[in-house]
C-alpha cells in the first residue's frame, strides 16, 4: 500500500505541473550559510544548513539526530582568531522539515556555535569544509548586520546573472561589540522558507492542526478556489450559457444545472481517484486525461446536435403556424414542444460541464488518502465542486436573465429567433473544438 501511495503521489505530480516548484537550487543541493559575529567579548557563529529534497530523504533514511549534526557542523567549520584555531561549541539548535516538491520534505537546521573570547581587534579566518564537493549555495558573512545575498538561505536570488554563491573561505578583522548573542529563527521563518509555489487549494489539505476554525476557513477557501477555478478555460461556461439560451431555460434550470455540475464533478474526482488507486499498475493516470477530454468533447457535440435539431423542428413548426395567424410576442414559450429543457437535457449538459475532474481536486483527494485525512479531503472536494457550480450557475443565470431582458424589449426579431439556433451551433462548434484538441493526445 505504501508503494502504491508513492506511485500515486508521483502520478499526481505528473498531473499538476504547475502546483509546486522544486527547491530553487535543484533537488540535489546542500546549502550552507555561516554568519560569524562578535557579541560582547565572545565570538559566535550562526550556521544554517538547507537540504533539498534528495539529501533530506537520504538524511532521514539514516535518522536525523540534530545534536550529531550540530557537532559535525562545528567540526567542519575551521575558524582561527589571531592565528589560533578556535574551538566552536554548539549551544543551541533548531531543526525543521519544510515542505518541498512532490509531497517530499526539505530540511533546515540552524545551529548557534559559541567560540573563543575576543579581547581586542583580532584577525579572523573562516574555512567551511562541511559537505565539500557537494553542490549548493555556500555563503559566509562576517558581522551581525552584514547583508546576506540569500537572506540566510531563506530566499535565493532569482537573477539570471547570479550563479549559486561559492564562498567557503573568509578573512576579516573583528573586535568586541555590544551586539546581543545571536538567536535561532523561530516559527514560520524556520518552518517554511519561501520557496514552494504551492497552489492555494492543494495546500489546504496539508494543514497540521484541524481546529474547527481552520476547518471552516478551509471550506470557505475551497469554495472560493472552486469558484475561481471555474473561470479558467474549459469548464463549460460557453456551453452552459449557450445551452440555457438555446433551450430558453429558466432560472430554475440554471440552479438545477449548478447542482448537477457539483454532483458530477465530485463523482468525477472520486471516480478518477479510485481509478488511479486501483489501476495504477495498468495505466499511467495522466494518459486518462486526453480520453476524458475526448469523451466530454464528443458528448458536447451530441448535445449541440440535439438542441439544433429541436430548434430546426421548432422553426418548421412555427413556419407552419405562421401561415395561419400573425406572430405575436411572448409566443415562443411553450408553443413548440421543448423536448429537452427537461431533466434529461440539463443532466447531459451538467455532466459535460462537470465530468472533467480538475487536477487540483484530484491532488487534494490523493493527498488526503496519503495523510489519512480522507473525510476532510472529501468534504473539501465537495466544497470545491460547489464553488465551481456557483460560478457556472451564476453565469447561467446571467444568460437566462439577459435573454428575458431581450424578450421584454421585444425586438420581435430575427435576433431573438435566431439566438437559440446560433447557440446550438456554438455548442456544436465548441464540442468539435474540444474533441479535435483532445484527439491527437489520445493514444
Amino acid at each position: 500500500m505504501k508503494k502504491l501511495l508513492v506511485v500515486l503521489v508521483a502520478a499526481t505530480a505528473l498531473l499538476v505541473p504547475a502546483a509546486a516548484s522544486a527547491h530553487p537550487l535543484g533537488n540535489f543541493t546542500i546549502n550552507r550559510f555561516a554568519r560569524v559575529e562578535v557579541a560582547g567579548h565572545r565570538l559566535y557563529v550562526r550556521y544554517v544548513l538547507d537540504l533539498a529534497e534528495i539529501p533530506t530523504y537520504q538524511a532521514r533514511q539514516d535518522g536525523v539526530d540534530p545534536a550529531a549534526y550540530a557537532r559535525r557542523v562545528a567540526r567542519g567549520l575551521h575558524v582561527t582568531v589571531d592565528g589560533r584555531p578556535a574551538v566552536l561549541r554548539p549551544i543551541a539548535r533548531a531543526l525543521a522539515f519544510p515542505r518541498g516538491v512532490a509531497g517530499l520534505r526539505t530540511m533546515r537546521l540552524e545551529v548557534i556555535l559559541r567560540g573563543p573570547a575576543v579581547e581586542g581587534t583580532e584577525s579572523l579566518t573562516v574555512h567551511d569544509t562541511n559537505y565539500a564537493g557537494r553542490i549548493g549555495w555556500k555563503e559566509i558573512v562576517v558581522g551581525a548586520d552584514t547583508h546576506s545575498l540569500s537572506d540566510e538561505l531563506h530566499a535565493y536570488p532569482k537573477s539570471l546573472l547570479q550563479s549559486p554563491l561559492d564562498v567557503t573561505r573568509a578573512r576579516a578583522t573583528v573586535f568586541p561589540t555590544d551586539a546581543p548573542v545571536p538567536q535561532l529563527s523561530a516559527g514560520s521563518s524556520l518552518e517554511a522558507p519561501d520557496r514552494v509555489a504551492d497552489g492555494g487549494f492543494t495546500k489546504l489539505i496539508g494543514r497540521r492542526h484541524l481546529s474547527a476554525l481552520v476547518i471552516l476557513l478551509s471550506l470557505a477557501a475551497a469554495l472560493f478556489w472552486g469558484a475561481a477555478h471555474a473561470l479558467s478555460p474549459g469548464h463549460g461556461k460557453t456551453i452552459v450559457t449557450a445551452y440555457l439560451v438555446g433551450r430558453r431555460g429558466t432560472p430554475r434550470d440554471a440552479a438545477v444545472l449548478g447542482l448537477i455540475v457539483t454532483v458530477t464533478h465530485t463523482i468525477g474526482v472520486f471516480a478518477l481517484g479510485l481509478v488511479t488507486l486501483a489501476l495504477s499498475q495498468w495505466i499511467v493516470p495522466e494518459t486518462l486525461y486526453p480520453w476524458l477530454n475526448a469523451v466530454a468533447g464528443f458528448s458536447v457535440v451530441l448535445i449541440g446536435a440535439a438542441v439544433l435539431r429541436a430548434r430546426v423542428r421548432d422553426w418548421l413548426h412555427l413556419r407552419a403556424h405562421r401561415h395561419g395567424h400573425a406572430h405575436h410576442h411572448g409566443h415562443d414559450h411553450g408553443h413548440a414542444p421543448e423536448p429537452g429543457t427537461g431533466f434529461r437535457g440539463l443532466l447531459a449538459v451538467g455532466i459535460s460541464g462537470g465530468a472533467l475532474p480538475c487536477p487540483s481536486a484530484l491532488v487534494v483527494l490523493l493527498a488526503a488518502v496519503s495523510l489519512h485525512r480522507l473525510a476532510f479531503g472529501l468534504v473539501l472536494i465537495v466544497a470545491f465542486s460547489l464553488g465551481l457550480a456557483l460560478t457556472i450557475t451564476g453565469i447561467g443565470l446571467a444568460a437566462v436573465l439577459a435573454r428575458s431582458a431581450f424578450g421584454r424589449r421585444s425586438f420581435d426579431g430575427l435576433v431573438l429567433r435566431l439566438l437559440p439556433a446560433v447557440s446550438a451551433v456554438v455548442i456544436v462548434v465548441a464540442g468539435v473544438a474540444m474533441t479535435v484538441r483532445a484527439l491527437p493526445k489520445v493514444r
Partner: protein, 425 residues
C-alpha cells in the same frame, strides 16, 4: 538504414549509454572554445555576468553566458543552471529573434532536458539560419538519433565533420560508429576527439570517460579502469569518471572498491543511474538493507523528476524492469517512453519491459528492432536472448547469450550471471 550506414562507410560509427540523461556530447564545449578555454568556465561566467550588468542587451554576451551555464551543468551536475541558461538565451532571442547561437543553444538545452522533438525543431531552425555552421548539425543529429531517424542523423554528423573536425564532431562520429557495431572505429574517433580536447579539463575528461566506456563495452575492464583514472586525474572528482571507474572496478570483481567510488559519485550528484548502480553493487555484496535504501531513493528521485516535468520514462522503466518492480506499470511507462523516444533505446527498453512482464510474443519484434543497426551492445543482445528463452526457443536464446558474453563477459552486474547460466545450459 543500409544507405545511412554506407555513407558513414569509413568515417562513422558510435554508440553507448544512451539511457544516461547526461550523455550530452561535447557540442557545448565546442561553441565555448570560440570565446574562452573551457575549464575556466567559472571565471568566464563571472566576467560575462559583470558585462551584462552594464550592458544587459549585449546579445553576444547573453548567448555566450547561456552556453557557459550549460557547460557548468556538465562540470558540476548542478541543474539549477538550466533555467538560467534558458532565461539568458531567450533574452538574446528577444533582442535578435534569428540569433544563431541562441537558437542552437536552446536546442542543446532541449536535448539535455530530453525534449527531443523540440530540440529537432530548434536545430532545424538554427540550420536554416546558418547552413554552414557545424554546431547546428550536432543539435539536429542528436535529436534525430533519439527519435530513431538514423539515416538523417548520420547524414547530419557527416556534414558536421566535413564542415569542422572538432571534439564535438569526432565524438558524434564515434557514437554513430558504435551504434552500427564498429566499436574499434568508435574508439579511434574518440581518441581523435580526445586529442582535440587536450588542455581543456572537462571536455578532455569527458572524451576519456567515453573512451573508457567503449573499452568497458568490449570487456576490457582493466584498460577502461586506466582510462577512467586518467580522466579523474585531469578533472578531479568528475562524477562521470567516478561512475565509470566504479563500473570498471565492478567488472574486475572489485565490488568494495566499486562501492566506494560509486558512493562518491552519488555524494556529488545523486543521478538515478548512479544510485541504482550503487544499490546493485550493495545487493551483489549481500547488503540487502543498504541496497533497498538506494532503491527507495530511486523512487524519490523519480517523483522529483516527474514533478519537474523531466521526461525519463524509459530510464524509470529500465530500472523497474531490471528490479522486477510492478511489471504492468513498467510496461505502460515503457510504451509512453517509446512514443517520446522511438529509437533503438526505446525498442530495447519496451521489449525488455514486455518480456519481464511475461508478454514475450509482443516483446519479440521490439527486441529484434533494437538490434537493427547491428549495435554490439551486450545488454541489448542479452535482452533479445531473454525474449527467446521466454518464448521457449532455447537454442536461439543460447546463441544470443553467448554472443553477449563474447562481446563483454561482465556486461551487467545483474544479468551477466543469468546469461552465463543460459549459455551453458
Amino acid at each position: 538504414m543500409s544507405a545511412a550506414v554506407l555513407t558513414l562507410g569509413g568515417a562513422f560509427r558510435s554508440g553507448g549509454a544512451a539511457a544516461a540523461p547526461d550523455r550530452l556530447p561535447a557540442g557545448v564545449a565546442e561553441e565555448l572554445q570560440r570565446g574562452f578555454a573551457a575549464g575556466d568556465t567559472e571565471a568566464e561566467i563571472a566576467g560575462l555576468q559583470g558585462e551584462l550588468r552594464l550592458r544587459p542587451r549585449d546579445t553576444k554576451a547573453l548567448e555566450t553566458l547561456g552556453l557557459a551555464y550549460l557547460q557548468r551543468v556538465r562540470e558540476t551536475g548542478d541543474a539549477s543552471y538550466y533555467p538560467k541558461a534558458d532565461g539568458v538565451l531567450h533574452e538574446a532571442l528577444a533582442v535578435e529573434p534569428r540569433d544563431l547561437i541562441a537558437t542552437a543553444g536552446l536546442g542543446q538545452l532541449a536535448l539535455a532536458r530530453h525534449q527531443f522533438r523540440r530540440a529537432l525543431t530548434l536545430g532545424l531552425r538554427a540550420r536554416s539560419i546558418s547552413p554552414t555552421t557545424a554546431g547546428v548539425y550536432g543539435v539536429v543529429g542528436d535529436a534525430e538519433i533519439e527519435l530513431g531517424h538514423y539515416a538523417q542523423a548520420f547524414a547530419a554528423f557527416d556534414r558536421m565533420t566535413a564542415l569542422k573536425p572538432s571534439v564535438a564532431s569526432y565524438a558524434r562520429v564515434s557514437y554513430a560508429r558504435e551504434l552500427i557495431g564498429d566499436t574499434a572505429g568508435a574508439a579511434r574517433a574518440m581518441e581523435l576527439a580526445s586529442s582535440a580536447a587536450v588542455g581543456e579539463h572537462e571536455p578532455y575528461a569527458w572524451t576519456r570517460v567515453q573512451l573508457g566506456l567503449l573499452q568497458l563495452s568490449t570487456g576490457r575492464a582493466a584498460a577502461a579502469a586506466r582510462t577512467m583514472r586518467l580522466a579523474l586525474a585531469s578533472f578531479p572528482g568528475y562524477p562521470f569518471a567516478l561512475d565509470g571507474l566504479a563500473q570498471s572496478e565492478a567488472a574486475l570483481g572489485q565490488l568494495r572498491r566499486a562501492r566506494t567510488l560509486e558512493s562518491q559519485a552519488v555524494a556529488r550528484v545523486p543521478l538515478p543511474q548512479y544510485v541504482s548502480f550503487l544499490g546493485d553493487i550493495e545487493a551483489a555484496l549481500g547488503d540487502r538493507a543498504a541496497a533497498a535504501r538506494q532503491y527507495a531513493l530511486i523512487g524519490v528521485i523519480e517523483r522529483l523528476l516527474a514533478a519537474n516535468g523531466v521526461r525519463n520514462d524509459l530510464d524509470i522503466a529500465l530500472f523497474d524492469a531490471d528490479h522486477g518492480r510492478n511489471p504492468a506499470r513498467t510496461v505502460a511507462l515503457a510504451r509512453k517512453g517509446y512514443l517520446e523516444r522511438p529509437s533503438i533505446v526505446g525498442d530495447d527498453v519496451l521489449g525488455w519491459a514486455l518480456a519481464r512482464a511475461g508478454h514475450c510474443t509482443e516483446a519479440l519484434p521490439y527486441s529484434t528492432r533494437a538490434l537493427r543497426l547491428g549495435t554490439k551492445d551486450a545488454l541489448k543482445i542479452f535482452h533479445r536472448g531473454y525474449v527467446a528463452a521466454c518464448l521457449g526457443r532455447t537454442a536461439e536464446a543460447r546463441t544470443y547469450y553467448r554472443r553477449s558474453l563474447a562481446i563483454n563477459p561482465h556486461f551487467s552486474i545483474l544479468w551477466a550471471r543469468v546469461a552465463r547460466k543460459g549459455a551453458s545450459s
